[in-house]
């Protein structure tokens, strides 16, 4: 009886994907390896429910296209996050809406959806609200780079591979995005945050 080659934790992603061509079940290893953090990244951007669908679509696309995966890329994260980021782009309005809601009300609906608390707690710190307001105002290309580095914890090279842009572009977009955030966060409470979101903001609370 011929011995079967099963993917294990020692195999890199490229090896797992290659083995899944002959044995589709092996693709589950890739899911187990990357789905939780990919889900966390997408859930932070879009909320819990939509994240489920986006992660599902990401892995379905990846599974159907696994034959085209470049075997010289041992880490599949840029590939997976690239697909996920494009899918997130389809929900751009929802993403901006939840940033604005956080900035306006102080209620982090994404975080709340993961807790058992029934009542909505105004727990977001003043700076987080300003940050959310600025995230909503950032150009999509800047936001993608910033969040791939900050939330998906990709390196500059991996983010470049993910988005299909040169590393220099990643650096410049990240630099501009961070400069805009710094500028916004450095303002006094009575300043620009009010201009970014509708509604009034309460007095800042020191939580961080």
């Amino acid at each position: 009886m011929p011995s079967e080659r099963r993917s294990g934790p020692q195999d890199d992603d490229a090896a797992v994907i290659a083995s899944s061509l002959a044995d589709p079940d092996q693709f589950a290893v890739l899911f187990e390896r990357h789905a939780p953090l990919l889900y966390r990244y997408v859930a932070r951007r879009l909320g819990r429910d939509v994240a489920e669908d986006v992660v599902a679509e990401t892995f379905l696309h990846a599974f159907r296209q696994r034959a085209s995966y470049h075997s010289d890329c041992p880490d599949a994260r840029p590939w997976l996050y690239g697909i996920a980021t494009r899918l997130v782009g389809r929900h751009r309005r929802a993403e901006i809406r939840q940033y604005r809601a956080l900035a306006r009300t102080g209620v982090d609906q994404v975080a709340e959806s993961f807790t058992e608390a029934v009542e909505a707690r105004v727990s977001a710190a003043w700076q987080c609200r300003r940050l959310a307001a600025e995230l909503a105002a950032l150009p999509a290309a800047y936001r993608d780079v910033l969040l791939l580095v900050a939330w998906a914890e990709l390196t500059y090279d991996e983010a470049a591979l993910t988005l299909g842009v040169p590393v220099g572009t990643v650096r410049s977009r990240l630099s501009r995005a961070r400069a805009r955030l710094r500028k916004q966060l450095g303002r006094e409470p009575a300043g620009g945050a009010h201009e970014q979101v509708s509604g009034s903001l309460p007095h800042p609370r020191v939580e961080l």
Binding site: R40, Q65, C128
Partner: protein, 268 residues
Amino acid sequence: MNEMELLTHMLNKVPADASPARAGARLRAEILQEPSPRAGAAGSSPARRSWPGWATRVTGAPARNGTRRRARLALAGGLVAVALTGALVAQAVERADTPAPSSTYKTGTGARLAAWTVRRGPGGVLVVTISELRDPSGLAALLRSYGVPARLEFPGYNFIPTTSLRVIPRSCKSPNMSPRAYSELQTKILPPRWAWMHIKRTRVGPHSYIFKLPPGGFASLESFAIQPSAIPAGIGLFIEAWAAQPGQTGTQLDRNTDLVEASPQCTG
């Protein structure tokens, strides 16, 4: 606390161990639809991988809302096995009394093969089978004649991993609706395979089923269905199919379908 630390603080409000159970179930269902070489050789129910916690947790999770989601959980959440033996196959549903509209081409040996066919299936669905990436405009025109505003593209073999997910063409617009409404409408227009293909389901446990495919086995899986009556006015489909590697045909083809706003520029 600088901006990057603040972003990390925001991220940390989302638990790192949250499990995308539904996503796992959908992937599992997709994998089970793909023929395994070992399964074909064995001629019996293949020894599938024992799926870990994220798959089995789905069976115990409460259904959130909607029959679609419940149906998905019922199908994919349990221990699913697909029996491939010819003796177990059930009846086919795609019975065409008349020859199906198709696009044919001549091979090097002179044989005429169908690049794609469109048949009427149960419940008024259109069963589309794409075997070869030829004549997309002909297929789009035929679908339009059935009341399906559609744009077809067969981009061919042009993928690298990071850019393999194409977006809709510039001349098309995504419909203005919530992600949930989009997803629900997409499921109505493109009913899942088990909703239109006669796949016999036998319950073998509380959440366990054996699914039996119609004659043709996995070869029948290159078909997909469109429900024309579910398409609201102003909505169309952008369908693209491609080969991930040169020479791939039939079930090896990849396919993606997006909802778009029907317009002369997009769907014709």
